[in-house]
């Protein structure tokens, strides 16, 4: 057994998984509160990457160094993505809040197609070269074969983001309001929680997470186009369901399990079947644990 190879694969899987987890958090938070699968979430990820691309392009001209540009570009991308998330909820979902559950789902698919085509028309359908914003750190040189510099940045940012999210939900007023809304929207409203504002905040937080993932993965692969959101969104959705949709630690666990399973499958069997491993695993887990890894089976309220 070649342990070095296994370790290399595991490192790759964890990096991939933490990106899935970041995007999956947005899905799971929204689902937890309004039971809506926000299919336009992948597009917010894509828009985050595009905004960062444009800002980074301008900033690189002014001669700032790589990491500064990355941080500034990411901040602008987050603001944009937050605005998109907020607007999306206002336009596409809020008018359908009390409609049958299928209607907002269709609206979400529509919003996804709209945003993808909008970027394609307003920007370009071509692939664009995303600048390499994370330079190679010298101290990473000896272990670059396991974890490259940009992988390290991804791992750090993801961990910090997840800790921040946990703190936000557990210890702040808005976090408490979110948990209340998740448990019972009518009751939360009765005790004075502004449910509309809580839902808006959820969309904003989810979109910010997606945009962070978009910027990170774009600076790793070095290219973006208007269609990258689709596959990323699908995989992250799979991760969210795998972990138990609506459950926040579940989304993180689901992302990691999915990333590692894909990487090991590709590494030991064949990368031609990478997606087969991902979706096969989903089927298997849903058969054994229909509510997902950490999800609790809820009795249908009648």
């Amino acid at each position: 057994m070649d342990f070095q190879y296994l370790f290399e694969l595991l490192c790759g899987g964890v990096v991939k998984g933490s990106i899935y987890a970041l995007i999956a958090l947005g899905y799971t938070m929204v689902y937890g509160i309004i039971q809506l699968i926000n299919f336009a979430h992948g597009e917010v990820y894509m828009i985050g990457a595009f905004v960062a691309f444009i800002v980074a392009g301008i900033l690189t001209l002014t001669g700032y160094s790589g990491l500064t540009v990355l941080v500034l570009a990411a901040v602008v991308a987050l603001i944009y993505a937050a605005a998109y998330g907020y607007t999306l909820e206002k336009i596409a979902y809020r008018p359908l809040r009390n409609a049958p559950r299928l209607s907002p789902l269709i609206s979400a698919i529509g919003a996804s197609i709209f945003l993808m085509n909008y970027v394609q028309l307003a920007q370009t359908p071509d692939f664009l070269p995303f600048p390499e914003l994370v330079a190679d750190f010298e101290f990473m040189e000896p272990i670059a074969r396991y974890v490259s510099s940009v992988d390290l940045v991804i791992l750090i940012v993801t961990t910090v983001t997840m800790i921040a999210l946990t703190v936000l939900i557990k210890y702040t007023r808005i976090g408490k309001a979110m948990r209340a809304t998740q448990q019972d929207m009518v009751m939360a409203r009765l005790v004075g929680v502004n449910v509309d504002r809580v839902i808006s905040a959820t969309f904003i937080i989810g979109s910010v997470l997606a945009a962070i993932a978009g910027v990170l993965i774009a600076s790793r692969t070095g290219q973006i186009n208007s269609a990258i959101g689709f596959m990323a969104g699908l995989k992250a959705f799979t991760a969210a369901v795998l972990g138990g949709i609506g459950n926040i630690p579940g989304a993180v666990l689901g992302g990691l399990v999915l990333g590692i399973a894909e990487t090991l499958g590709a590494g030991y069997i064949s990368s031609a079947y990478e997606d087969v491993f991902a979706f096969g695993l989903l089927v298997l887990i849903l058969i054994l644990r229909p509510a997902g890894l950490l999800g609790k089976a809820v009795k249908q309220k009648v």
């Binding site: 070649d2 070095q4 190879y5 290399e8 694969l9 790759g12 899987g13 990096v15 991939k16 990106i19 071509d126 692939f127 664009l128 070269p129 390499e132 190679d136 670059a144 074969r145 490259s148 510099s149 940009v150 992988d151 993965i217 790793r220 692969t221 070095g222 290219q223 186009n225 269609a227 990258i228 596959m231 990323a232 995989k235 894909e262 990487t263 090991l264 590709a266 590494g267 064949s270 990368s271 031609a272 990478e274 997606d275």
Partner: protein, 373 residues
């Protein structure tokens, strides 16, 4: 109502033309031009039609071939095999002498059976499917473009003979184009026996990450990577290889040899090899044809223009040498008479492939592709 009368008028005019055409064509050489002229794939067919029109206009102005004028018969197959058979039947029934086309491999294959039965020669500017010539099924088929497997064979021999690779990894994007190239490469390397294929795998196009497959490349100890596919995946692979400090030569097909790849891959592109069609712009006929085209249409000629121009020249030269349009004499003329064309000085081999047409290896050097001598 008005719309209807217009339609009727057009229909009447078309019918009149259809009747008029054979009547006026008493003693001409009938050159069919078949390919997609409408629909999605029209950009692949229109340049061929325009090339044939230009050659024929020029030759007719000089008095035609053997004293006869050349008459064009344009046929639109939309690249669809079922339409191609209809179009071929129609051309044959109208007495076509020789055909330039078809453009897509599938449509060409469908039409060839009909031409074969009628003993009519077809010269395609663009059908690259290898069995069309190499299968030996269609002795009446010729082409002025290299077959798909030619570039794979070139890539394979370049890897083993020039770069002395011993353990070769082959990746592809699972699409027809990329996997086809990868399959031919694998076959050629295994047949050559100079190197081993240590890894042969498909990758998921559009995936966020290829690090697993790259780690595998390293653990297999590959000293060269051949990739069949397009530029987005190729640049993603290259970028990750650089980040993971894997430095092995990278060879790709002509899908890489373009500005798109250079732009996206940026500095990762440096040193990458790609096979691509030979540079034909240096031939005097090519320069003239291109400048004539620009003067007439005000833009650069499109895909397969050079090959179609060459095919038309070769066809009419064969008619001239053969002294008529007899099937056997035409075939002999195509195989024996050298003709100056836009893709170089060519004649056809026994199977129908143009000799002297093919691919070269290019390498990215300081941000541009340069031919490797």
């Amino acid at each position: 109502m008005q719309k209807k009368t217009l339609v009727q008028l057009v229909a009447a005019a078309l019918v009149a033309m259809a009747f008029a055409a054979p009547a006026s064509a008493a003693d001409t050489i009938k050159l069919g031009v078949a390919g997609p002229h409408t629909g999605d794939l029209a950009p692949y067919g229109m340049p061929s039609k325009e090339a044939a029109e230009m050659v024929v206009a020029e030759i007719n102005a000089k008095g035609g071939v053997n004293g006869k004028q050349v008459e064009l018969m344009i046929a639109d197959d939309q690249c669809k095999p079922e339409i191609a058979t209809n179009v071929a039947t129609k051309l044959v029934s109208e007495g076509v002498n020789i055909v330039i086309g078809h453009v897509c491999s599938g449509a060409t294959k469908a039409a060839m059976g009909i031409y074969k039965g009628a003993k009519i020669i077809a010269i395609s500017p663009s059908a690259t499917n290898p069995p069309l010539t190499k299968g030996g099924e269609y002795p009446n088929f010729y082409r002025t473009i290299a077959a798909d497997d030619d570039q794979a064979m070139l890539a394979a021999s370049f890897a083993t003979d020039k770069l002395n690779a011993k353990k070769i990894a082959i990746l592809h994007d699972k699409g027809d184009y990329g996997k086809g190239f990868a399959d031919f490469c694998k076959e050629a390397i295994e047949k050559g026996g100079k190197a081993k294929v240590v890894m042969y795998e498909g990758i998921q196009p559009g995936a966020m990450d290829y690090s697993a497959v790259i780690q595998k490349l390293r653990s297999e100890g590959a000293d060269l990577l051949i990739f069949g596919g397009y530029h987005p995946e190729a640049s993603k692979l290259l970028s990750l290889m650089n980040k993971k400090k894997i430095k092995v030569p990278f060879i790709g097909p002509d899908g890489l040899k373009g500005d798109g790849f250079l732009k996206i891959a940026g500095k990762d592109a440096e040193g990458v090899y790609a096979t691509g069609p030979m540079d034909v712009s240096k031939f005097p006929i090519n320069m003239k044809a291109r400048s004539d085209y620009k003067a007439k249409y005000g833009k650069e000629p499109g895909t397969f223009f050079d090959q179609a121009y060459a095919a038309t020249l070769a066809a009419l030269n064969a008619v001239k040498v053969a002294g008529g349009t007899d099937y056997d004499a035409l075939g002999k003329a195509l195989r024996s008479s050298m003709v100056e064309t836009t893709v170089g000085k060519i004649k056809f081999d026994a199977k129908g492939d143009a000799e002297g047409v093919g691919f070269s290896v290019y390498q990215v050097k300081s941000g541009a592709f340069a031919e490797v001598k």
